[in-house]
């Protein structure tokens, strides 16, 4: 794994516009950054990332099995009791899942022999999908064509094919509705891309904002044309749905959700503690405990405190050695509105540094198969929504 500076394509902003990639630059700087790329060997991709990704997904299934069989686990995850049966039903019914992203700290085989370490699993509402699948792929092809990078490069990126294929296999009858909240361009773009894939899979689609969803007399969800919502892809966290007014209608609505309700177990950071409890010592896992677990005291050395439910790196604290529970020892900290449901503590495994940048590796799953890689770089140790997206290549 190497970080290699490279010239930008002259016309990439125009290409972005043509491809519907509107959020490549934030007010305070670039988000899409092709001034460098990461280069991996095929062995690094296949042995160190792809294989662990699918293995962890299987372990996560065991976590779901355990959670739905034990009310105490669901209580620890702060999942509201009225949804326990619904989660179990969605699991036993084998409701299909579409996608997820495992975030790893990894520095490559040449620099160290440390396996990729799982930092968290974005199982319910991952974004960065479009830029991983489409724009990164386009960069690779164009950069090879114009000689910016060597010929014969490959990329860990079968996202597009797998998304179209997976959506076609859901067996969706009638229209697939797709929703996100108003006022987030990034969320909207991700939903538009999933909608695009669904159309390519031959499905009829209809976009609706979460705020516009209605309910009929029988408690079924409706769109703005008063048509029933049979299947809903929602880029909207399950814990928000469960807490909101219409949430209580979900179990009896008859609507099928993507991601399915059982993903609520895995998008919770408590799942990291359950993974460690069930698969302690696994090379790709970091010691992680619920913050109120007495065993958490066994963490010798710095650790990270993360809310059970949070987004985009908010409310994360890295606490120095001996600073157990005392925030004034924080080495790094992000602000935010999360944390009311409780926390986990995770052994601190810093992101590697390449020229002053800290890359976090997001490994994509589509229908539970490893499907690609996205790299987001930050100048700080906690990856937030300020991180830049850096493309990658595979070249032996």
């Amino acid at each position: 794994m190497q970080r290699i500076p490279v010239a930008e394509r002259d016309d990439w902003r125009e290409t972005a516009r043509e491809h519907g990639f509107e959020f490549h630059t934030f007010d305070d700087g670039a988000y899409w950054d092709e001034s460098a790329y990461y280069r991996f060997t095929l062995a690094e991709i296949e042995d160190d990332l792809e294989e662990p990704t699918e293995e962890i997904e299987k372990m996560c299934f065991a976590v779901v099995e355990r959670a739905i069989a034990d009310d105490e686990v669901l209580r620890r995850l702060a999942i509201p009791e009225p949804f326990w049966d619904h989660i179990a039903e969605s699991w036993h019914r084998q409701d299909r899942n579409l996608y997820g992203r495992l975030d790893f700290s990894y520095s490559g085989q040449e620099t160290s022999k440390t396996p990729a370490k799982l930092l968290e699993y974005n199982a319910d509402t991952p974004t960065t999908l479009y830029e991983s699948s489409i724009f990164q792929w386009t960069w690779l092809e164009q950069a090879m064509e114009s000689g910016l990078i060597p010929q014969g490069c490959d990329q860990f990126n079968s996202l597009h094919e797998r998304l179209v294929d997976a959506l076609g296999r859901f067996g969706i009858f009638g229209t697939l509705h797709l929703a996100c909240a108003r006022d987030s361009a990034e969320d909207k773009a991700t939903v538009e891309y999933v909608e695009d894939c669904a159309r390519q899979a031959g499905l009829e689609t209809q976009f609706i904002y979460m705020e516009d969803i209605g309910i009929d007399r029988e408690g079924r969800f409706t769109d703005l044309d008063d048509m029933l919502i049979g299947t809903l892809f929602k880029l909207y966290p399950w814990e928000w749905i469960m807490a909101e007014e219409f949430g209580s209608r979900v179990p009896t609505s008859g609507t099928r959700f993507i991601e399915p309700t059982w993903k609520a177990v895995l998008s919770n950071k408590g799942a990291l503690a359950l993974l460690w409890e069930m698969f302690e010592g696994h090379p790709n896992l970091l010691p992680t405990y619920f913050a109120d677990d007495p065993r958490a005291a066994a963490l010798d050395g710095p650790f990270v405190r993360k809310p059970l439910l949070s987004r985009e790196g908010s409310n994360v604290v890295i606490v120095g050695e001996g600073g157990h529970g005392r925030d004034h020892d924080a080495l790094a900290e992000t602000a935010g509105p999360y944390g009311a449901e409780g926390h986990v503590v995770q052994a601190f495994h810093p992101l590697p540094e390449f020229d002053g940048n800290h890359p976090m590796l997001g490994c994509w799953l589509v229908a539970s198969k490893a499907a690609g890689l996205c790299i987001r770089e930050d100048r700080t140790l906690i990856t937030t929504d300020d991180a830049r997206f850096i493309p990658h290549v595979i070249l032996d």
């Binding site: 990639f21 079968s158 969320d187 705020e211 309910i215 007014e245």
Partner: protein
């Protein structure tokens, strides 16, 4: 190869591909504005006319589009073209639906031939054509006619929305949903 062999966007961006729609298969159907027009058609059995009309009329209230605002109903179907539906909203308000303007049936009883007996409507922006409760045009011809197979299918029950806005509160206080 570890990457997709090709990518495509059909909706996003400026370079969208244009997909040509397939020609939809059609079926033969009978369309009448009322039961009398059917009875006047010597090619159709009287019992078929009456039984199909009964089936269509019985579905009308269930499958017609629903409105809680009468003006919205009239905007879609024309002034004076709406009636009260036999339902109420949860808070006791009225529900409106368009008048049944005709009916469609197969030439044999019991929906054989792939045509479900059903009510028909006329929307104000396309008043010359009949449309099904699922808003599929069946043309302006009465008597024997040809309709698309999807228009001949049994219409779906139409819910009416009694409340909206029960999702979104967390997004307003927390911001983006993405992780």
């Amino acid at each position: 190869m570890k990457r997709s062999r090709s990518i495509a966007l059909v909706m996003m961006g400026a370079g969208s591909l244009i997909l040509s729609a397939c020609e939809e298969p059609t079926v033969e159907a009978l369309v009448y504005k009322d039961v009398q027009q059917c009875l006047d058609d010597s090619t159709v059995d009287l019992a078929v006319c009456e039984e199909s009309f009964k089936q269509a009329a019985a579905q009308h209230a269930r499958v017609a589009p629903k409105y809680t605002d009468p003006a919205a109903c009239e905007a879609d179907f024309g002034a004076g073209q709406c009636e009260l539906a036999p339902y109420q909203t949860e808070s006791g308000g009225s529900v409106f639906m368009p008048l049944m303007m005709g009916y469609m049936m197969g030439s044999m009883l019991g929906g054989r031939g792939g045509v479900a007996a059903q009510p028909l409507y006329r929307s104000s922006d396309d008043a010359k054509n009949y449309r099904t409760a699922d808003n599929r045009s069946v043309g302006s011809t009465t008597g024997k006619t040809t309709v698309s197979r999807s228009a001949a299918a049994a219409p779906a029950s139409k819910p009416y929305t009694v409340s909206r806005g029960g999702f979104g509160a967390r997004a307003r206080s927390f911001g983006s949903a993405s992780t």
